[in-house]
Symmetry: C2
Subunit: 351 residues, 2 copies
């Protein structure tokens, strides 16, 4: 279907719409933004072309630093990301942004408000911003996000910001795919119970109290510090009980304050320094390698699960399956028995 | 391991700690709360006893109405649930509450604050409240929640409230497991973009603006109504384009206001009426049956995926897998190739 002619990388961006992955990759690496966009689109899909993109970027797509930015809707993550881009650019590094855009698991539609706010960097060739819709099932995003990170890294964006919306487990999972995870809270929002509820304590490498010019910012900082005290206390208790000594290499998430929306972007430079310090810590302790290794494994697992889910859906388009569905509805078989039937249809050996 | 003696259901609750599922089920059905608690604990685990519980309750565990209550942390879902229990009890029905408690995907700990607030019904035998921690992976909760609903229904609690925390996709998924989903927002929180972001428009059968005594409640209601207008407009456009007529059986989610924390529980009776009206709508249109049928299917799929994930984890404890992990880390194989190796280890036929 796609034209297969190979051209030099100097074709105009407008002609990169229908080209094979290898040519697109070449064009993207020499700075064609439209080619990069198209490459990312291919990577998001499934099928042989996505697989080809994956192969092309896999070994080359090692980012210097992947920074996840997460927190509740409305916490100001987009504005913060926008200002961070400015700081990173002022240091000369190119930066890729993956904005995991909210979309319903049903309609698949994405909201573009955040991206419009980020348009201050629209004319900067050192910045590439990509929106990615969260999909119906976990596998989609869990696979598509690291793939997109690799594409961006392989095409010359060594620093990648991954901004996610919401504090659900999908977002936590995506945050866990970053080297460094920044959790953004607001004054008054983050009282200890609510922040702990969202499972943020465990994923945060740094906390940011954004909108710090509002009342209650100092209290929120103190709450977070107390929670970290509690959590550190529990951990050292566990370590003592297990006979282990104090872990001197342990990172305690710093709590920073920003007013990202202020003209000067109050606190943003300090935030970027702290993010960078976390990267150094990861590298010095060997944790960077460990985290990345764990992520690769997690991804391989996600690939397999996604494939199997896909095959389950295919297996469900059979007459046998319709009978099964009717029996389930009449509660003649239960979900375990139905799963066993599905499993047999997939050719998975029973255990 | 478990003593197998069968006793009458009149044993003291304190002795129900170690009994087989069938006896526990008998005891729970005749009102022994401790037996019901133990039965739910068994059902939450995996293994032969969980399977036995599942078989016992499957056909009998059809609730009259399963109501999901979801929304952002801090929206007041627990207080609302507490007040709904009061209304349901005043109508004479017994009510089971499944509180999907927030816990980190890492530590597995649950926060008990919500349950303490709900303790007003602690001495009412017509109310059974169960906290359930969200687990590391989706499969756990997606399976455990409907199982717990069936246990509660089979043991004499025909109305089940499932309260979830947060608006992440896990919560959306659990909400989708209910017959009726109530989405709780607060004044000022739910501006149209943020609510749409959380994927709430598509899952809501009813919206509740809670804390309606605060400023901005009316604006939030209007925002929600506008979003519903837009969404209805888009849908009727799609229907017109496809040649279908107007769907007279279509339910438009009503937007209600409550002040659950007020002494009189402002708006709660009206909320319960609206919830009940939604159930009637589901029944009249045949949608109740359709939804439940879809859920059963979804559950069978989840069972299979959970089993396969479990087997992947087992497959990973081999030497072959350690070699694979090292190759992945060196980027000699990519995640797709690693998935294929895992797949072979599982005995899943390649496609």
């Amino acid at each position: 279907m796609e034209p297969r002619e190979r051209e030099t990388a100097t074709i105009p961006a407008s002609q990169t719409g229908r080209r094979d992955p290898a040519s697109l990759f070449e064009a993207a690496r020499s700075g064609h933004r439209a080619a990069l966009g198209r490459l990312l689109s291919l990577a998001e899909r499934s099928g042989p072309e996505a697989r080809q993109v994956s192969r092309l970027v896999f070994a080359r797509g090692v980012a210097r630093h992947v920074v996840g930015i997460t927190g509740a809707p409305g916490a100001g993550k987009s504005t913060l990301t926008d200002k961070l881009i400015g700081v990173i650019r002022s240091e000369g590094s190119k930066v890729g942004v993956l904005a995991i855009d909210p979309s319903s698991p049903y309609s698949g539609g994405a909201i573009l408000g955040d991206r419009i706010r980020m348009s201050g960097h629209a004319t900067d060739d050192g910045v590439f911003i990509r929106s990615m819709a969260t999909r119906g099932h976990l596998g989609g995003l869990a696979l598509a996000a690291p793939e997109a990170v690799r594409v961006l890294a392989a095409c010359g964006y060594p620093t990648i910001l991954v901004e996610t919306v919401g504090v659900g487990q999908v977002e936590v999972a995506v945050a866990a795919a970053a080297d460094t995870t920044v959790v953004v809270v607001n004054p008054g929002w983050g009282d200890s119970v609510q922040a702990a509820k969202a499972g943020l304590l465990e994923v945060a490498d740094l906390f940011v109290v954004n909108k710090a010019d509002r009342p209650g910012a100092e209290q929120t900082r103190r709450d977070l510090e107390s929670m970290l005290d509690l959590s550190a206390g529990a951990e050292s208790g566990r370590r003592a009980a297990s006979g282990a000594g104090r872990d001197v290499t342990k990172w305690r998430p710093p709590v920073l304050s920003t007013t990202a929306a202020s003209p000067s972007g109050e606190g943003i430079s300090e935030l970027w320094e702290a993010i960078d310090a976390h990267r150094s810590h990861l590298e010095d302790t060997g944790e960077l390698e460990t985290r990345r290794r764990r992520r690769m494994l997690e991804e391989a697992r996600s690939v397999l699960v996604a494939q199997i889910l896909f095959e389950i859906q295919a297996a469900e388009r059979t007459e046998e399956f319709e009978r099964l569905e009717a029996a389930l509805a009449r509660r003649e078989v239960d979900s375990y028995e139905a799963a066993a039937t599905l499993r047999a249809a997939l050719g998975v050996s029973p255990r």
